[in-house]
């Protein structure tokens, strides 16, 4: 068995992403302000991007651009670019989600004159 410290050091990225994810989830569940909920959603999505980017990393490797005049290509010398590319797409998706969400919040603010969830629910029950 590994000691706790070893596990922490070798799985640091996983622990970090779960911790950040929980922060985001907490904000989405516990905050009543709709904008704060959206910030929570952003944190939640970012934690998954962090996981993806971290799994592309390799010790002692460099960015995946071929060195000038390189003739032999060893995969161990370059980090894996694919997760980064995937996350570019995921960032675009999360920006689009945020855009739609902010538009909806604006509409809600126009209708209810509030962005606090409890006040909106009270207004809807009336």
């Amino acid at each position: 068995m590994h000691s706790l410290g070893e596990v922490f050091a070798s799985h640091f990225n996983y622990i970090a992403y779960v911790a950040i994810m929980m922060v985001g989830l907490y904000a989405m569940a516990a905050k009543s302000n709709l904008i704060k909920k959206l910030i929570g959603l952003g944190i939640f999505q970012t934690s998954i991007m962090l996981l993806y980017v971290s799994i592309g990393a390799k010790k002692g490797a460099t960015i995946p651009i071929l060195a000038k005049g390189a003739t032999t290509i060893s995969p161990a010398d370059y980090i894996n670019p694919l997760p980064h590319v995937l996350m570019l797409t995921a960032i675009v998706v999360s920006v689009a989600t945020l855009g739609v969400a902010l538009a909806l919040v604006q509409k809600i603010h126009k209708h209810f004159n509030s962005i606090e969830e409890d006040e909106i629910l009270k207004e809807l029950r009336r």
Partner: protein
């Protein structure tokens, strides 16, 4: 050979053309966008139907986007099962659009181009989810479908806007969890292509990474599919949206997600996976039982017809989830049949209720008095959908439930079989309560009969007549589509 991509491209580009045309032609542009939208969906449906006949005669088709070979490029894989789903999605979207495209009142006329653009985009997203052979591409299509759904559902008053923001928060978490599951799959297999992942994972011993990825991915899909504890967004969003939007999304979204779960189980993940985590799959079947019973109980409490249908939908989601995880081919056959049957009958019911809302402005159950005298054709279609939902032969709902119950008995899971039958009985109660009002009571206001409005009624009658037709074609569907898909799997 271009048909798989054309099926998706027609609504995708149709969406941009509708919006662009409405901007460019200031006067009269808004009237012209409707034929474009109908045309785009009709072309897509035609492609899907031709594709289905081709796939049934000559075998599966693989389309390489940009000519890049998998595992590097993204491919669209159309086998008989996904071809059938493409037909369901495109034909369903087309019928629903025709039914609501010429509604005189209650149509958000000021927003028509935007509404149609989003409608086409949502259809394209659902088609893409079905056709794609790449797990990350599937995430992108889920988000294309979901983002346009949020906007579509919000276009009807303040309650709808608030409900769709809640749907957005829950749905984004679901999609993110799916993405997280894909991440674990990528860590384990180093690939994103479904067939490639399958061949790599079968060669490897089962690892915790695969199991974690599977569990997280399924959790994400359950949230998107409105499985019981995560169902709250569905009734809120669908019951307050405009009839055209709920008529598109209620039949499609949950069914397409159920299809993704089936696809993950039969294509992507290795066959020893569920056997290796038997505790997990039995937990899922129990969860499905809870979903079925909870959906049925909550449906009884509803005073609004569309809300009641939404809770019945929550119960139906339980059917499909439980059947997929029972782990024998009879139950899986039942699940796939039920995806098809539920799409058809939910479309019938939501279209009928949508037409009632468009005409009377209300969907409260107490306002259903005398509906048979004022809207005979709509109510006949509603009865067809309701009988299918209850599971009366020869409607398609009977055959799928038959296979689900037989599969449950084969697996020895009496509680699941019992919940299925209980929920069917509750459906009897729910629907006959409405029939009683509609048949025997006097209408509160005298109104013109609906028989003249053929443009609205023709698609509804078509889908209502399809219900027994699908039921009678069950044998053929199983032989041609479901058995090849399950061959060598269960």
């Amino acid at each position: 050979m271009q048909l798989p991509v054309l099926t998706i491209l027609f609504p995708l580009f149709g969406a941009f053309v509708t919006v662009a045309l409405a901007w460019s032609v200031r006067s009269g542009g808004r009237k012209n966008v409707m034929p474009i939208a109908v045309g785009a969906l009709a072309s897509s449906a035609a492609c899907a139907v031709v594709l289905l006949t081709q796939v049934l005669t000559t075998g599966s088709q693989i389309y390489l986007l940009g000519g890049w070979a998998p595992p590097w490029g993204i491919s669209l894989v159309v086998d008989p099962l996904s071809a059938l789903m493409l037909v369901v999605v495109s034909v369903g979207a087309l019928l629903n659009l025709i039914a609501f495209s010429f509604t005189p009142s209650k149509w958000p006329l000021g927003k028509t181009p935007a509404f149609l653009g989003l409608y086409l985009l949502a259809t394209a997203g659902h088609l893409g989810i079905v056709a794609t052979g790449d797990v990350f591409n599937l995430f992108v299509f889920i988000e294309v479908a979901a983002l346009s759904s949020y906007a579509l559902l919000s276009m009807e008053g303040r309650r709808a806007t608030f409900a769709s923001l809640n749907y957005l928060l829950v749905g984004s978490v679901g999609a993110s969890l799916y993405l997280l599951g894909v991440g674990y799959l990528y860590i384990e297999s180093g690939s994103l292509n479904m067939l490639d992942i399958a061949s790599i994972l079968t060669a490897l011993p089962l690892s915790t990474t695969t199991l974690t990825g599977f569990a997280v991915l399924m959790l994400g899909l359950w949230v998107k599919m409105a499985v019981f504890p995560f169902h709250a967004w569905l009734p809120a969003a669908y019951a307050s949206a405009s009839p055209a939007a709920s008529g598109l999304l209620a039949p499609l979204t949950t069914k397409v997600m159920a299809y993704v779960i089936v696809r993950m189980l039969i294509t992507v993940f290795p066959q020893n996976l569920l056997a290796g985590m038997s505790g997990f799959s039995s937990m899922v079947v129990w969860l499905a039982c809870v979903a079925i019973i909870a959906g049925a109980i909550m449906a009884i409490a509803q005073q609004d017809l569309r809300r009641m249908l939404c809770f019945i939908l929550v119960a139906e989601v339980g059917y499909m989830l439980g059947g997929a995880f029972l782990g024998n081919s009879t139950a899986m056959t039942g699940t796939i049949l039920h995806i098809l049957a539920d799409a058809a009958m939910t479309l019938t019911l939501f279209m009928a209720v949508g037409i009632i809302i468009a005409r009377t402005g209300s969907s409260r159950i107490q306002d259903m008095d005398g509906m048979f005298t004022t809207m005979p054709v709509t109510m006949l279609a509603f009865v067809a959908g309701a009988l299918s939902m209850i599971g009366v032969p020869p409607f398609c709902g009977f055959f799928s439930k038959w296979y689900l119950v037989s599969g449950a008995l084969e697996a020895g899971h009496w509680v699941f079989a019992g919940s299925l039958i209980l929920s069917s009985l509750v459906n009897v109660l729910l629907f006959f309560r409405i029939f009683e009002r509609a048949f025997f009571r006097k209408p509160s206001v005298a109104a013109v009969q609906d028989t003249g409005d053929w443009q609205q009624l023709a698609p509804l009658c078509f889908i209502a007549l399809l219900l027994p037709a699908i039921g009678l074609a069950t044998g053929g569907i199983i032989q041609e589509i479901i058995q090849p898909a399950l061959k060598g799997v269960l």
